[in-house]
């Protein structure tokens, strides 16, 4: 998996010296070794790992958990959602079928994925006492917060720590002595449905992310980052890295030409087909509809998104990647549609159903976090809007939407977003003591739009 064009790949991080080929596997392995060394043998109570999209965060968590368990140090793992917990337990059990893993779950009906019942060494229970003595116990932060009166674990792994709120960490931090915090700083920040301004600037602002609070109180903790994205193709990593991670650049694990998308059926010349061809050739495509102010569920944009997906399936897309010798068809389950709002997702689902498409994942950015597909179709958060609110400008939202794909990403958007951005500079009040997040949504949106403009297909449906 050596980059096909190491010189070009090296140029955008500026870290490798000229003439020295960049070996992504070696770079990633070095980072992992350093992380494991600090986790297993370091003196600090915490280790923080920043992981860009698709950099092997889950693999790292599984490996660290297994090594800790193998060293005779039982640990607890904190994830944020039940789906993440189930996925993690499944990965652990698949990697080591004999490893005793506990799945602590809620007392609701159907509390966990039945897939876990297929693993002999996995034990699931709603009571922590039932899981005593197991090497690894995994649960959500919400469930862990209810565990009381137990001997603290010597080790913990906190997964998706940047999506965990500071108050959630407060509720569970008494359960462990030291922990490995893993997460992606570029994704969506945690939020609160009520105002939390009164605590802005405090080191323990309960609405801030767990890592922000942790580092504010423990600034000397070792911080690592994973340097290689195995998910993003060579066409996407430079843009995502520059737009969302300007100070902590990463690179793609594959080089240009290693991944290819092609179609069995030629283009019919319509907008959706042309934008698919552009995306297959360059990794990015912008289907630009005429400027117009629309309701959130913009019927034309929703129909355009659905049409792109329909044509992607109809034209028999096949993907070449390092994962297999043969080109693999891009089936519905390898495609996702991302939106900003739930009603938009519902509208797209209805439109897809209307076109007879099923099996395609359609969801909001929040719910697509951590997931991976071959091709994604994104309804731009600012498309057709009269204003640019903090929600729609949030860097993490755009970052999640534009970093879920292994092959190509098509963005559907109405013209005029650049002007909209210029008319609505960020107006959030400056809070004393709060580190200004950079890049802000305004900057990141401009960076992405400037790049997408080179892959623009204007279309009037």
């Amino acid at each position: 998996m050596i980059g096909a064009d190491p010189a070009a790949a090296a140029a955008h991080t500026g870290r490798a010296r000229a003439g020295e080929p960049f070996d992504p596997s070696a770079a990633a392995a070095r980072a992992t070794e350093a992380i494991l060394r600090d986790t297993l043998h370091g003196a600090d109570r915490g280790v923080v790992v920043d992981s860009p999209p698709g950099a092997g965060k889950s693999t790292l968590v599984v490996r660290a958990a297994r090594e800790l368990a193998a060293a005779g140090r039982p640990l607890m793992v904190v994830a944020q959602t039940n789906a993440q917990v189930d996925d993690l337990v499944d990965r652990l059990a698949t990697a080591d079928p004999d490893l005793p893993v506990g799945r602590l779950h809620s007392s609701d009906p159907h509390p966990y994925d039945p897939v876990l019942d297929g693993h002999a060494a996995v034990r699931a229970s709603a009571k922590i006492a039932d899981l005593a003595g197991l090497d690894i116990v995994v649960s959500t932060a919400a469930k862990w917060a209810h565990i009381k009166n137990v001997e603290p674990w010597r080790h913990a792994i906190v997964d998706e720590a940047y999506q965990m709120r500071s108050d959630a960490l407060l509720a569970v931090a008494g359960l462990f002595e030291r922990a490995l915090f893993v997460g992606d700083p570029g994704q969506l920040d945690p939020f609160s449905v009520v105002g939390a301004d009164q605590w802005a600037g405090l080191s323990y602002d309960p609405s801030a992310s767990a890592v922000t609070t942790l580092l504010a109180h423990n600034p000397r903790l070792p911080q690592h980052r994973l340097p290689v994205s195995w998910r993003l193709p060579a066409s996407a990593a430079p843009l995502v890295s520059a737009a969302f991670y300007p100070y902590t650049p990463f690179r793609s694990g594959t080089g240009h030409g290693e991944r290819r998308l092609s179609f069995g059926v030629a283009s019919d010349g319509t907008g959706p087909d042309r934008v698919l061809d552009e995306a297959a050739a360059s990794g990015w495509g912008l289907l630009e509809l005429p400027a117009r102010r629309t309701p959130r569920t913009d019927p034309e944009a929703v129909a355009a998104v659905a049409q792109v997906v329909r044509r992607l399936l109809d034209r028999g897309a096949v993907a070449v990647s390092e994962r297999s010798e043969e080109p693999l068809p891009v089936a519905a389950d390898r495609i996702a549609v991302g939106t900003a709002h739930r009603d938009q997702a519902a509208a797209v689902r209805a439109a897809l159903t209307g076109l007879g498409v099923s099996g395609v994942t359609v969801d909001t950015a929040n719910r697509l976090q951590g997931r991976e597909f071959d091709v994604t179709v994104v309804l731009h958060p600012l498309s057709g809007r009269p204003d640019a609110t903090a929600f729609h400008l949030e860097t993490g939202r755009l970052c999640v939407l534009t970093s879920r794909h292994r092959q190509a990403c098509v963005v559907v958007c109405r013209a005029g977003v650049t002007e909209l951005l210029d008319e609505h500079p960020s107006t959030e009040p400056v809070q004393l003591g709060v580190t200004v997040k950079f890049p802000d949504g305004w900057e990141a949106n401009h960076a992405v739009l400037a790049h997408l403009a080179e892959h623009r297909v204007a279309w009037r449906p």
């Binding site: 109570r45 915490g46 009906p109 159907h110 919400a142 917060a145 209810h146 009381k148 500071s166 108050d167 960490l169 407060l170 509720a171 931090a173 008494g174 609160s192 449905v193 009520v194 105002g195 939390a196 009164q198 605590w199 405090l202 080191s203 323990y204 602002d205 309960p206 609405s207 767990a210 609070t213 942790l214 109180h217 423990n218 309701p295 569920t297 019927p299 034309e300 929703v302 129909a303 659905a306 739930r342 009603d343 519902a346 509208a347 797209v348 209805a350 439109a351 159903t353 209307g354 076109l355 007879g356 099923s358 449906p461």
Partner: protein, 568 residues
């Protein structure tokens, strides 16, 4: 802004007057609220200029600070304010009822019932606008750490009695007002804009005058026109006919009227202190003029505030408002107890655990408020239905079924015909209110054929026909038409009841809806639970800085050193 609010605002523009957002009043209004209309001095944060205060709308008490830069006068004002407000706050402290509550016995560690006092009613403060609420907080912060001569004979600038106490109460009220749905301290602009949608922006709604102009325009004048007048109409002297609701004053008033009057006051005061003949009389005249000027700014807002109260009282109170007011009574009682126990004033900053507890409590309160409002009010529920968070319809079939457990439990399948488009996925939890006010739980079990409701699980197919059945789902308008359009085709949804049917094998009578019943299911819980218990502040974990330093003063870091500018 939700779709239904947007719609109501567009209707308000078309009709030329505000449109109701609710059918009932969702906030408690006291029989005898205390109205407080404060004014602040331009250019000096936290320097009060004057206030109208009282419980009698026809006899407000006017308090002024003739020269706000004079700290003595400022304190005199705060002392007078305390004399007005504190007796009102205290007047509710002794009317109590006894409540039983479970508390952990410190010796045995067991939960034992104890009798506690709960005040029968609580004092309620009304201010004109959200800025007024912020000003109450600011006053509280500036007053609560003052020391009276009685508390500390050494203190160099003793505060008048009651001032620090009022500061603690205002702080408590200001903090409580951050809890969604709480009613101890309310602003009229927030109250009115919760219940009516105007044809202007949210920002413009913060102007009490123009908001009232939309809600209740004068005969024959459109809301937009009346609002424009309220905002900007000026008299021959360039003064606003409807002064702003404060606490900030209009600059034209400050420059043309207030500043000259204050200069005359200063001059008269200087003369009086030098013993110039007639100086005392001129000083009284100058002060009288200032009182008259400030009254001219305060009285219109005072009257507007009570007009708003009248409008809100014309709405019947929502059924669950009393429940929430009870929590306000607990909050009032709790603070009363802390004051009586001689606890120190609230700290400047919350510690990590307190901040997290407050945030969690407010999030729970928000979820409860949203649920309560929807259940109390079909118009609010309509908004939730439009947003895909609830659906209502007619029961067209009920099929008895039981769970596979050793002791089978009733799990009837209820088919509901609805035109709503809820955001459903398989096994999504559903909730509805049954006759006795209790909540019943269920889960979504799939779509049914409209003709024969047997095929409960043919979700894929029926879904498709449902989508296409809305005005051509494939054309331009189809997508939104299928989602929201009034012409969206009706679908049949199957709900599996999972609770609220009693303990037996057969559901208790009346707990399972019957064919022909109208039912309304929500995707949100009706009584959302609070978050987990947090550690005690003394066990704050290392990730959050460890336990607060007991040696550090509770009031945070030392104040900045005094400079010459502090003694202007």
């Amino acid at each position: 802004m939700s779709l239904i609010t947007t719609l109501a605002r567009m209707e308000a523009v078309r009709e030329g007057r505000a449109q109701p957002l609710t059918t009932v009043r969702h906030r408690h209004l006291s029989e005898r609220p205390l109205a407080f209309v404060p004014l602040t001095t331009a250019g000096e944060a936290g320097a009060p200029l004057g206030a109208m205060v009282g419980t009698d709308r026809d006899a407000p008490r006017l308090l002024i600070v003739a020269q706000p830069r004079d700290r003595d006068l400022r304190f005199a004002f705060l002392a007078e304010l305390a004399e007005e407000i504190q007796p009102y706050l205290d007047s509710y402290a002794d009317g109590i009822e006894l409540e039983e509550r479970k508390e952990t016995d410190p010796e045995t560690g067991k939960k034992v019932p104890v009798q506690v006092e709960l005040c029968e009613d609580a004092p309620q403060l009304l201010v004109p606008s959200a800025a007024g609420v912020a000003f109450v907080r600011l006053l509280g912060r500036s007053m609560r750490f003052r020391r009276t001569a009685e508390q500390d004979p050494e203190t160099p600038f003793p505060a008048p009695a009651r001032v620090p106490l009022l500061g603690r109460w205002l702080t408590h009220y200001g903090e409580r007002s951050r809890v969604p749905g709480s009613c101890l301290l309310l602003s009229l602009t927030e109250l009115l804009s919760r219940h009516w949608a105007t044809g202007q922006s949210n920002l413009e709604d913060q102007h009490l005058g123009s908001l009232l102009a939309w809600v209740d325009p004068p005969e024959g004048v459109s809301g937009a026109e009346a609002a424009l007048r309220a905002e900007s109409e000026r008299d021959a002297h360039g003064q606003l006919r409807c002064p702003p609701a404060g606490p900030a004053t209009d600059p034209a008033f400050d420059n043309k009227l207030l500043a000259p009057a204050m200069s005359r006051y200063d001059a008269a005061r200087a003369e009086a202190s030098q013993g110039v003949a007639g100086g005392e009389a001129r000083l009284r005249l100058a002060e009288e003029e200032l009182r008259r000027l400030l009254a001219s700014q305060l009285r219109p807002t005072w009257d507007a505030l009570w007009r708003g109260v009248d409008l809100l009282r014309s709405l019947p109170e929502g059924a669950r408002v009393t429940d929430r007011w009870r929590r306000d009574r607990w909050s009032y009682t709790g603070h009363r107890d802390r004051v009586r126990a001689g606890e120190p004033p609230q700290p400047k900053r919350d510690d990590a655990v307190t901040a997290a507890q407050k945030l969690a409590a407010r999030e729970t309160a928000q979820a409860q408020l949203d649920a309560h409002e929807a259940l109390d009010d079909p118009l609010v529920m309509a908004g939730r239905r439009l947003a895909g968070e609830a659906f209502a319809g007619e029961v067209i079939d009920v099929e008895m079924a039981w769970s596979d457990a050793k002791v089978p439990r009733p799990r009837p399948l209820v088919t509901v015909r609805t035109e709503d488009r809820p955001h459903l996925a398989e096994r999504v939890k559903l909730h509805r209110v049954v006759a006795d006010g209790k909540a019943q739980s269920g889960e979504f079990a799939g779509f049914a054929d409209m003709d024969g409701p047997e095929g409960a699980d043919e979700s894929g197919e029926s879904d498709e026909s449902g989508g296409a059945g809305g005005a051509d789902a494939s054309d331009d308008t189809g997508a939104s038409g299928a989602e929201y359009g009034p012409g969206g085709a009706a679908r049949a949804l199957v709900v599996r009841l999972t609770g609220g049917m009693g303990r037996g094998k057969q559901p208790e009578p009346g707990t399972v809806p019957e064919k022909g019943d109208r039912v309304c299911w929500t995707l949100f819980e009706h009584a959302p639970r609070g978050g987990p218990e947090l550690p005690d502040p003394e066990s704050t974990p290392w990730t959050h800085g460890g336990p607060p330093d007991a040696a550090a003063p509770a009031q945070g870091p030392e104040p900045d050193p005094m400079t010459e500018e502090d003694y202007l």
